[in-house]
C-alpha cells in the first residue's frame, strides 16, 4: 500500500474549481516537489492532504488511514504525524523561539496541559536538540519578532519536527527568503528527508530548486496534474506547458 495516496481529489469553490481529479501516490521517504504557477492550486492541494481544507470529493489515504472518515478528535491525532511549514512562517511573534517550537507538541497534550503550557523535560530537551540541529540554539530564548526570515523559517521547521512527523508538507518555504537563506532552508529540508527518512512534499516556485533538490516533481496547472515524474525527465516543453508560457518567456531559457 502506498504511504500517501490521493484518489481523485477535487476541490470546488462557489465560482471556481481549484483542484480537478488529482490522483497520485507517494512512497515513504520520497522528496517530492510540487511546481506550478500562482493560483494553480498547489497550496490547496497540500491543505487537502491534512484536511485543513476539506476536499469536495475524492479521498486522501495516509499511512493506511482514510482521512475522509475521521471525526475531529481523530483528525487531530492524525495531524500530529504530519508537520507543516508555511511561507510566512506562521509563528506567534510575541513568544520565544522555544515556546513556538514546543507548540508542535500540543497535539500530544490534553487540552488543559496545552492551555497551561505544561511540557515535560524530555519534550524541552527535544526542542533544544532540534534547535541545535538547525543551528538555532543560541536564539532559543529570543522573541520571534527579533529573528530574520531564514531564522523564523528554521523555527517553523523545528516546530514541525518536534511533532515526530512521518510526512512534512512545506507550503512555499523559501518564497519569502533571500537566495542564501533559501539555500540553507532547502539544505535542511533535504537533510531531514535523507537522514531522518521523513517524506517531504514541498511547494516551490523555482523550477531550478525543484530540479536540484527533489526525487520527483509534480507539475500542476489550473488544478490538474500535468507532469509527474523524476526531474531528469522533465523536459523544457513540459515546463512551458505547466506555466502556460512560450520559449523565451521564462528566466531559465
Amino acid at each position: 500500500m502506498a504511504f500517501l495516496e490521493c484518489k481523485s481529489v477535487t476541490k470546488e469553490y462557489a465560482t471556481t474549481t481549484a483542484l480537478k481529479n488529482i490522483c497520485f501516490s507517494v512512497k515513504n521517504g520520497e522528496m517530492v516537489a510540487i511546481i506550478g504557477p500562482s493560483g494553480a492550486g498547489k497550496s490547496t492541494l497540500l491543505r487537502c492532504i491534512n484536511r485543513m481544507i476539506k476536499p469536495t470529493t475524492g479521498e486522501v489515504i495516509f499511512d493506511g488511514i482514510n482521512f475522509n472518515r475521521l471525526n475531529s478528535a481523530e483528525l487531530r491525532q492524525q495531524r500530529r504525524k504530519i508537520g507543516m511549514v508555511f511561507q510566512h512562517y506562521n509563528l506567534v511573534n510575541r513568544l520565544s523561539v522555544v515556546e513556538n517550537v514546543l507548540h508542535g507538541r500540543l497535539g500530544y497534550k490534553s487540552t488543559l496541559e496545552g492551555i497551561l503550557g505544561k511540557y515535560n523535560e524530555s519534550e524541552k530537551e527535544d526542542a533544544f536538540k532540534i534547535l541545535a540541529r538547525l543551528g538555532m540554539e543560541e536564539q532559543a530564548y529570543k522573541r520571534c519578532d527579533e529573528l530574520s526570515g531564514g531564522q523564523k523559517q528554521r523555527v517553523g521547521i523545528a516546530r514541525a519536527l518536534i511533532q515526530e512527523p512521518k510526512l512534512m508538507l512545506c507550503d512555499e518555504p523559501i518564497a519569502s527568503l533571500d537566495p542564501s537563506a533559501a539555500k540553507v532552508i532547502m539544505d535542511y529540508l533535504l537533510d531531514i528527508n535523507k537522514s531522518m527518512g521523513i517524506t517531504c512534499l514541498v511547494n516551490l516556485h523555482q523550477v531550478d530548486v525543484a530540479m536540484k533538490y527533489s526525487d520527483r516533481i509534480i507539475g500542476v496547472r489550473k488544478g490538474e496534474v500535468i507532469y509527474d515524474g523524476p526531474p531528469s525527465e522533465l523536459k523544457k516543453e513540459t515546463i512551458h506547458k505547466i506555466y502556460d508560457s512560450k520559449t523565451g518567456e521564462l528566466i531559465m531559457d
Binding site: 487531530r76 508537520g83 510566512h88 509563528l91 506567534v92 507548540h103 487540552t111 496545552g114 492551555i115
Partner: protein, 258 residues
C-alpha cells in the same frame, strides 16, 4: 491622451465640490440652520462663558461632593469596560472558532448592541430599572460589549489567523490555540482597546449619568439647573483632568506592554 485623463480627474473634483455645496444648502433649508448667525453668536457665547462659567472660591466647597461622584463615575466606567470586555472576548473567540452558526449568531448579537447608542440604552433601561446606577452600568456594558466584540474579532482575524492555522495543522485543540496563540499574539491590541474604551466610557458615563440621575453627570445637571454655573464649570474641569490623567496612564501602559 494623458491630458484627457487629467481633465477627467479635474471634472471629478469639481463635481464633488458642487455636490458638497448642494448637500450643505439642502441641509440648511431642512434644518433652518444659518451659518452666519452661528458665527456671529460665537463671540457672545465666549463672552458669556468667560463671565459665568468659571469656578469661584465659593464653588470650591462643592469639590469634595464632586470628587465623590467623579470617583463613582470613573469606577462605573472601569467596571463596565472590564466586564463588557470579558464578554466581548468570549463572543469574539466563539465567532472566530470557524463554526458558521456561532459566527453569524455572535456577530448579529454584537452588532445589535453596538448599533444602539449607550444614551438610548440608558433611556430604555431607565424605564425598567429606574433611576439608579444599575441602569447606567448596563447601558455602558451593552455599548462596550457590542463595540469591543467587533474590535476583538478584527484583531484576532488580523493578528492571529496565521498562527491559528499552524497550530490547527499540528493537531492542537481550539482551547489550546486560544491560550497558546490567539491571546499571546493579540494581547497588546486587546489591552489597547480596553484602555481606549475606559476613556470613552468615562466621557459617556457623564452623559448617561445625566439621564439616569447618577454620578457626576447628575451633579452637573443639578448645578446647571440651579444656575450654579461656577460649580458646574468645576465639574467640567475635574472631568477633563481625570480624562487627561487616564489618557496619560494608558499611554504609559501601552508603551510598557509593546
Amino acid at each position: 491622451m494623458n491630458l484627457l485623463v487629467v481633465k477627467k480627474r479635474q471634472n471629478y473634483i469639481m463635481t464633488f465640490f458642487v455636490l458638497v455645496v448642494i448637500l450643505y444648502y439642502g441641509a440648511v433649508q431642512v434644518t433652518g440652520f444659518e451659518l452666519s448667525q452661528a458665527l456671529v453668536s460665537i463671540p457672545e457665547a465666549i463672552f458669556w462663558s468667560l463671565s459665568n462659567f468659571y469656578p469661584t472660591v465659593s464653588s470650591m466647597k462643592n469639590l469634595p461632593a464632586i470628587l465623590i461622584k467623579l470617583h463613582e463615575t470613573v469606577f462605573l466606567a472601569i467596571v463596565a469596560t472590564t466586564t463588557g470586555g470579558i464578554c466581548a472576548m468570549i463572543f469574539a473567540l466563539l465567532s472566530t472558532k470557524g463554526v458558521p452558526v456561532f459566527t453569524v449568531m455572535c456577530r448579529l448579537i454584537a452588532s445589535f448592541f453596538r448599533n444602539i447608542p449607550d444614551t438610548v440604552w440608558a433611556i430604555v433601561l431607565l424605564l425598567s430599572f429606574g433611576q439608579n446606577v444599575i441602569s447606567g452600568y448596563i447601558a455602558l456594558f451593552f455599548a462596550t460589549f457590542g463595540f469591543l466584540t467587533r474590535a476583538f474579532v478584527e484583531t484576532i482575524e488580523e493578528v492571529g489567523a496565521s498562527s491559528i492555522e499552524a497550530l490547527q495543522a499540528a493537531g492542537a485543540t481550539y482551547g489550546q490555540i486560544v491560550f497558546q496563540a490567539i491571546i499571546p499574539s493579540c494581547i497588546t491590541q486587546v489591552v489597547s482597546w480596553l484602555l481606549f474604551m475606559i476613556e470613552t466610557n468615562i466621557r459617556s458615563s457623564t452623559l448617561v449619568g445625566m439621564l439616569t440621575g447618577t454620578g457626576i453627570g447628575n451633579l452637573f445637571n443639578i448645578y446647571y439647573k440651579f444656575f450654579d454655573y461656577h460649580s458646574a464649570s468645576l465639574v467640567v474641569i475635574m472631568i477633563v483632568i481625570v480624562i487627561l490623567i487616564i489618557e496619560a496612564a494608558s499611554n504609559h501602559v501601552r508603551r510598557m506592554i509593546l
